[in-house]
């Protein structure tokens, strides 16, 4: 048999290319090191072991490239990733962690840094990554698919970690550890926008079959291949996960519009009375301005709804927190968080002789306002004010309930006992619902709301079971809350008044005419 024409040329080209390619790799690694040292080393460390100078404050810790345990792959459990997988993580970042995306890097820089990252681990030298798994094709979504997916969720026992409502509050959630033995959250499936590996149905399907290496999230592939769930059911499960909540972070709107309640204010945070009341989402981030900082906050956002009736204003605030602190089931979690984090000088919570924490901090949320309606854009310091300009707080924590306070900085809150603010909170399946209510105007020191005038508002949150106490909180910047004036009355009254005036004027004219006639 004769070799096809051109084989020799191809072979020649290969021989010529091989050393060239090797040299190319070396050049790429050298170029990649420049990129790495500039952008990556502070967290991932100079030798790629995830031990950079900033690493100790982070949970989860930066990736250890020496071990080549990559969460985001298209390859099987325990396998090294493809170059495209590493590129995906660099371009998109790992939302929900401290790893951002890197839109500033050029394609060439990313290619180079991938070569350099791989040089940290001997596993890449042993050969290329295996081919991506066969993910099959999506049979399609829709209500029937979502229903089938919901059944598959239970068949696969996803709720053991992720909880029945998907908020990461499953029975096993408090005990989860990553491969370093550090505490790690079961993903909150209602917040797809912080999924590490992307929020599309395809992304979620891929993550289920590959697992997330280095985390407790296993690969479902043997369960699928054994027929516990069919390949279609895994896709349907992905559609079900996508139905837990929005794929993108809800759009940020600066102003909470508090409408006028028809038929009285809701008496509590129960669902019925709040149906149809617009909910506003506000992202929270860890407090990292003052020591001790919080780089891994539990509460990353909250939803706010409001109604008023001209006398009182009522707000409903909801946020996800897998633990109803204080809860002894989360003791071990709290201890591990305390041990794992560089608390920036925060006093670690001591353990008693049985290894239980001596303090179990409560969960808490503060709503923050200025004391006076501000002139223009002047507002107190967003981190709970300062000595010069304090903030007015509605405080809630899971031990003492709702109250009011005067804040003069993050660690300075003085209760305002006279304030009439009242309310309560309930926790169910990984979500707090807080209801607060107060007269629009008060005799005591607190702020008087003015209908139609936007009032600054900001938020803080703490998860006690994650040793979030004092300055280790989640915070927001200033937003606004607006009590809508009785707009509808203006619309109704003006024509009515016009009609009355017209009528009265008409009557006057008629009377005058009659009088004139009488006078004759």
């Amino acid at each position: 048999m004769r070799a096809p024409r051109g084989t020799g040329i191809v072979l020649l080209a290969l021989f010529a290319a091989a050393p060239h390619a090797l040299a190319g790799q070396e050049d790429a690694a050298t170029a990649g090191k420049v990129v790495y040292d500039r952008w990556c080393a502070e967290c991932h460390g100079e030798t790629g072991q995830g031990d950079g100078s900033a690493a100790a404050s982070m949970l989860p810790r930066p990736r250890d490239f020496a071990q080549a345990l990559y969460q985001i792959r298209t390859t099987g459990s325990g396998q090294i990733p493809t170059d495209a997988d590493i590129r995906f993580a660099i371009e998109n970042g790992l939302p929900g962690t401290t790893m951002p995306g890197w839109p500033n890097l050029t394609d060439q820089e990313i290619d180079d840094v991938i070569v350099y990252l791989k040089s940290f681990s001997r596993f890449f030298a042993q050969g290329p990554a295996p081919e991506p798994l066969d993910f099959g094709s999506d049979p399609g979504g829709g209500p029937a698919a979502i229903e089938a997916g919901a059944a598959a969720y239970l068949t696969m026992l996803c709720e053991e970690c992720h909880g029945l409502s998907g908020r990461g509050d499953g029975t096993s959630a408090p005990t989860l550890e990553d491969w370093r033995g550090l505490p790690i959250r079961a993903a909150d499936l209602t917040e797809a926008w912080v999924f590490n590996g992307g929020s599309s149905v395809e992304d979620m399907h891929t993550r289920m079959l590959t697992g997330l290496d280095g985390t407790p999230m296993p690969s479902a592939i043997d369960a699928m291949n054994s027929g516990v769930v069919s390949p279609d059911e895994v896709w349907q499960l992905a559609h079900y996960l996508a139905s837990f909540g929005p794929r993108e972070m809800p759009p940020l709107r600066e102003v909470i519009r508090v409408g006028r309640a028809e038929g009285g204010l809701p008496a509590d945070g129960g669902e019925e009375a709040w149906v149809g009341v617009e909910a506003f989402h506000f992202p929270l981030s860890g407090q990292v301005v003052q020591l001790p900082r919080n780089f891994s906050p539990t509460v990353d956002g909250l939803w706010v709804q409001g109604l008023h009736d001209g006398n009182d204003v009522a707000l409903r605030v909801q946020w996800n927190d897998p633990s109803n602190s204080p809860d002894p089931n989360w003791d071990e979690w709290q201890n591990k968080i305390t041990a794992a984090l560089d608390l920036d000088g925060a006093e670690a919570i001591a353990l008693d002789s049985a290894g239980a924490p001596s303090v179990r901090p409560p969960d808490a949320v503060f709503l923050q306002f200025p004391f006076e309606m501000p002139e223009g854009t002047d507002r107190p310091y967003f981190l709970m004010g300062d000595a010069r300009e304090p903030v007015y707080l509605w405080t809630w924590d899971s031990e003492t309930g709702v109250g009011a306070g005067r804040g003069r900085g993050l660690d300075s809150v003085e209760p305002l006992a006279e304030d009439p603010v009242a309310g309560e909170a309930t926790w169910e399946e990984g979500r707090w619902t807080l209801y607060v209510r107060r007269p629009i105007e008060v005799e005591s020191e607190g702020l008087d709301f003015v209908e139609g005038t936007p009032t600054p508002i900001a938020f803080q949150a703490w998860d006690g079971s994650s040793a979030e106490v004092g300055k280790r909180s989640s915070v927001s910047t200033w937003y606004y809350i607006l009590l809508e004036p009785p707009a509808s009355s203006t619309v109704v009254v003006t024509p009515l008044l016009a009609m009355l005036l017209t009528g009265a004027f008409g009557l006057v004219l008629v009377r005058r005419a009659q009088d004139r006639r009488r006078d004759r």
Binding site: T155, G181, D222, A223, V228
Partner: protein, 310 residues
């Protein structure tokens, strides 16, 4: 703590002994051989639908080992003795989240398995030839790791590099098998009900590979991977036996999850039975563990595992 750990380690290395327990070892030798045959028979059939090993690059297992010439091999047998001091009381495992599993245990309920002592013997010690082996038959047959009543069976497993490990679930609930080696590629596979089998392999020697279930934080197993078939795990009475070892001089290492490693020398003669035993004592309890798999601290009379470090 680390300093103490190292001191303990060298103390352990110096404290091996050759005891006079050949009668008992002989008995166990035969029992172990029978058990091994039974185990081989039991795990012959692979389950359907198993993923290929993460550490595949070792290549396919070679054909069955060449027939052993009995005139060139001997046996090593011995004991992991637990002498002196108090036998430690193991922590009770709180299995209240899995009532079905908890029901599988007696009135005392499930206990941790880090130190199992019976009749002066210490179970779950992984013993293997650590030096002196040159050339070894390739792995044959599969090793088996099962999950029964929310514990691993066995708690400590020895395998040869490249050997299939068939991991099965006898519990009709969710386990994930999360192996976190450092020299090998790991794996993390879910088995949400009974009857699923996953087949995995480790490419290179590594003592030990920790295995855990994240759903049930108390579930912990260890897999010792060596390049040859000359290894064993001590049984409930602390004895072990390794057959068909080529005559020669070897270093033998014993690993235990709480007590670290110790080594001894052993000379195997053709047709003979060499003895290599290891002594452990209650005084060693409470000392730091040097290997990094487990860090145990004392709180009063309780020993609490606070961290697993690599």
């Amino acid at each position: 703590m680390k300093q103490r750990g190292r001191a303990l380690n060298s103390q352990l290395r110096n404290s091996f002994s050759y005891g006079g327990k050949s009668m008992r070892s002989h008995f166990w030798n035969r029992s172990a051989a029978l058990l091994a045959v039974a185990a081989m028979a039991a795990c012959g059939g692979g389950g359907g639908g198993s993923s290929e090993g993460a550490a595949d690059d070792a290549g396919e297992a070679a054909p069955a080992a060449a027939a052993v010439d009995p005139s060139t091999v001997g046996t090593i047998s011995g004991m992991a003795n637990f002498t002196g001091g108090m036998v430690p009381t193991m922590e009770a495992i709180d299995m209240s989240t899995e009532a079905d599993c908890a029901a599988g245990y007696g009135a005392d309920g499930p206990m941790a398995q880090n130190v199992l002592v019976s009749g002066g013997g210490l179970a779950n010690v992984f013993v293997y030839l650590s030096e002196g082996v040159s050339g070894a038959p390739a792995a044959s047959g599969a090793a088996a790791l099962d999950q029964v009543n929310c514990r691993y069976t066995p708690h400590v497993l020895g395998v040869q590099s490249g050997q299939d490990i068939e991991i099965s679930n006898s519990d009709n609930l969710l386990h994930n098998i999360n192996a976190t080696p450092t020299e090998n590629r790991g794996f993390n596979i879910s088995q949400p009900r009974a009857g699923i089998t996953s087949t995995q392999r480790f490419a290179v020697a590594e003592v030990m590979v920790p295995v855990r279930c994240d759903v049930h934080g108390w579930m912990q197993a260890y897999i010792g991977v060596v390049d040859h078939p000359y290894f064993a795990v001590t049984g409930a009475d602390g004895s072990y036996s390794i057959a068909n070892v080529p005559a020669g001089d070897y270093t033998m290492t014993a690993w235990h999850e709480e007590f670290g490693t110790m080594t001894t020398n052993v000379t195997v003669t053709a047709g003979g039975t060499a003895e290599a035993s290891f002594d452990y004592s209650g005084e060693m309890m409470g000392a730091d563990v040097p290997m990094g798999e487990a860090l145990v601290i004392e709180h009063g009379t309780n020993r609490i595992r606070v961290e697993r470090t690599q």
